[in-house]
Symmetry: C2
Subunit: 144 residues, 2 copies
DNA sequence: GAGAAGTAACTGTACCAGCAGTCTCTGACA
DNA sequence: TGTCAGAGACTGCTGGTACAGTTACTTCTC
């Protein structure tokens, strides 16, 4: 229970600092970086709307309009899916790729400063190992 | 960095399940429980608006209207501060105390199921110890 | 190959959070 | 004691999120 409290406070605290900082340094919030990163990791830098929804960390809903906004900013583009005219593929534009890289590089030191620096490397290994299941099953499955 | 990812996924995943479940079982969201719990832990079950704002885990802002809603539901009551007519004290009502207890008891097993059960007790200790600083400095100070 | 059932994404509406500005009150100082 | 900087909480507005209902398309069944 203390472990859960630690996780809760750590994420709330770090996100509370990182989100505004990202916003001022690169001009968009963490939710955008989340989506951009999912696309970056995907094969061909492309995903379907549903896949984004399943994988994204923050907004479970409202993906349509979130992508609308990112698309309006030119970081992402919708394309039809060959063979399924219901579906939509969302892909990174070159500009999106660039901004993702920029945002990631701005974000990393903030995490290091707010989170990494407060743990010994021993502790980092222990936490990473203990919490690995949570991000693994987000990886390999749609979950429920 | 993997440690941070673990924290992020764990909290997102568990909250994503716990919030809707709390909502259906006791009828209010985690943000309410957050506030109620802060009040429960406070001396005399009372806090000023600013103190709630500093201590609350989720919403850093919008406290005024959040308290409005909780007050409208009868779980909390505003009172004047003797000696400072600008200030407002927010206190738990008996009903609020009851609902807090109820919510807490509904919430605990969910956390246990979604989080606790996936870690060995060894790992729980390690995580709790590693992340303790984050909730300690939320305790003893307004932070920066 | 026509109709029912299911899937993928979008839209309407209501609610909630974030930000800036406002109002009232306190404490200090001349 | 008049006033003035700052503290404490509230309100208007904007924009993002959540949920339900729609539309367009696909797949399954006979």
């Amino acid at each position: 229970m203390d472990a859960w409290r630690g996780v809760l406070y750590a994420s709330a605290r770090v996100l509370g600092v990182a989100d505004p900082e990202l916003n001022t340094s690169v001009g968009f919030p963490l939710t955008w970086l989340d989506i951009l990163a999912q696309l970056y990791d995907a094969p061909g830098n492309k995903l379907r709307m549903q896949e984004i929804q399943e994988r994204s960390l923050f907004t479970r809903s409202g993906i349509t309009r979130l992508v609308d906004r990112i698309e309006a900013a030119g970081l992402v583009r919708r394309e039809p899916v060959v063979g399924d005219r219901r579906g939509v593929l969302v892909g990174l534009t070159p500009e999106g790729l660039r901004r993702h890289r920029e945002a990631f590089e701005a974000h990393l030191p903030v995490i290091e400063r707010e989170f990494g620096r407060r743990l010994t490397s021993e502790q980092q290994r222990a936490v990473a190992e203990a919490l690995a299941p949570f991000w693994h099953d987000a990886q390999d499955a749609t979950s429920e």
